[in-house]
């Protein structure tokens, strides 16, 4: 600037000191805002919770007590900008018509689809002869744990599941 008092050599704040302070100060603010925003953008996935995705399996009446039913469903899952559609099914059983259990249709041994044998009253896996009872407990065979379950609830007379299996502790 053309006017203003000349700074003396031993003044507390010289023009040069003031300006470099200003540059580093403003630079720091800009870096903090941009860096902070960028870091937040980058790290945000760490705090993202998985969306609860309940799928309709049909009316409660589809499952008779003591007679597990194979119920098919279509799961529409949002995967960021993609909506993936997946066809699958679940085995649902009830003993009293009020409390339901939904099983992941994959055997816990190596993932084969098992079937219900109504004569024996057991789930049989064709691959390596794993056998489970109506509650999904291991009866015999190589399965390391009982059948995995899907969270299930009844809403307005319809069965709803979240098709992410929860492991049953051995």
């Amino acid at each position: 600037m053309s006017s203003g008092p000349e700074p003396t050599k031993d003044s507390d704040l010289s023009r040069r000191g003031f300006l470099s302070g200003l540059i580093f100060g403003l630079g720091g603010v800009i870096t903090a805002v941009l860096g902070g925003a960028g870091t937040a953008y980058f790290l945000a996935p760490a705090f993202k919770k998985e969306a609860e995705n309940w799928v309709d399996l049909g009316p409660v009446s589809a499952v008779k007590p003591g007679m597990p039913a194979k119920l098919e469903f279509v799961e529409r899952k949002r995967d960021a900008w993609v909506t993936a559609e997946r066809r699958s099914f679940a085995w649902v059983q009830t003993s009293n018509g009020r409390d339901f259990t939904a099983f992941d249709p994959r055997c816990t041994h190596l993932g084969c689809p098992y079937r219900w044998d109504s004569g024996k009253g057991q789930f049989l896996c064709p691959c390596h002869t794993a056998v489970f009872d109506v509650n999904g407990k291991v009866v015999s065979g190589p399965a390391p744990r009982g059948l995995d379950r899907f969270p299930i609830k009844v809403v307005g007379g319809r069965l709803m599941i979240r098709p992410q299996p929860e492991k049953v502790k051995a």
């Binding site: 941009l34 925003a37 960028g38 937040a40 953008y41 980058f42 900008w81």
Partner: protein
């Protein structure tokens, strides 16, 4: 710090980069000398925000638009980062043009600084390339038809026009191949070339020093 200086010569690097002598200029004229640094700063912002945007963008006709929407609506500060990149792109063109005009009207491109000017012209063309390729990436109506117009303009070139347009589009039609092509140019080729030319440009700026503002002759 002493240890670091002794092994890197950092204090001398600092001296020649930031504590070098620059011409004395007053008032509005002094501000004209900031346009180059401003362009460099905006370029750095574009590089960082661009890298962040690339984390959630797909250059595919089926998903490009949805992924941009995902950034704007579902990513924390996504619309802010996207906005910075978009407005930064506009500001970049403005700053680069003003910088060029400053250098031109002050005659700062003259001997011995012709090579600096040539590198600068190269950088200007690269900025135009960034603008053209980046404009397509959101894959909305505006992006699509702006690029269609751009490709048609290239197609008007005598003799080679149709071939130039097809090379731009990656085929006879504007579509998937165009988008991946433009994306590759926008994030791979152009940034690499730009960094090279910026290094050359800045080296020459420091090597020759900055030219004095012109003096009025009576």
């Amino acid at each position: 710090m002493e240890w670091f200086n002794e092994r890197s010569g950092f204090d001398r690097v600092w001296q020649s980069l930031f504590a070098r002598h620059i011409p004395e200029a007053k008032g509005p004229v002094a501000w004209l000398y900031t346009l180059g640094s401003a362009s460099l700063f905006v370029f750095m912002v574009q590089a960082v925000t661009g890298a962040l945007l690339a984390m959630s963008y797909v250059p595919d006709p089926g998903h490009a638009y949805d992924s941009v929407r995902y950034i704007n609506e579902h990513v924390l500060l996504g619309s802010f980062i996207h906005g910075l990149h978009k407005w930064g792109a506009t500001l970049m063109v403005v700053l680069v043009v003003l910088h060029m005009l400053r250098v031109y009207f002050m005659g700062a491109y003259k001997y011995p600084r012709e090579l600096t000017w040539i590198a600068g012209v190269g950088l200007f063309l690269l900025v135009m390339g960034f603008s053209f390729t980046g404009y397509l990436l959101p894959w909305d109506q505006k992006a699509y038809f702006a690029t269609a117009v751009g490709a048609n303009i290239a197609g008007q070139t005598p003799v080679v026009g149709p071939y130039v347009a097809q090379v731009l589009k990656g085929g006879p039609d504007l579509g998937a191949a165009t988008l991946t092509r433009f994306f590759a140019f926008h994030v791979l080729f152009l940034p690499a070339l730009t960094v090279l030319l910026i290094v050359l440009h800045l080296f020459l700026v420091i090597w020759h020093g900055i030219s004095e503002p012109p003096v009025r002759q009576r």
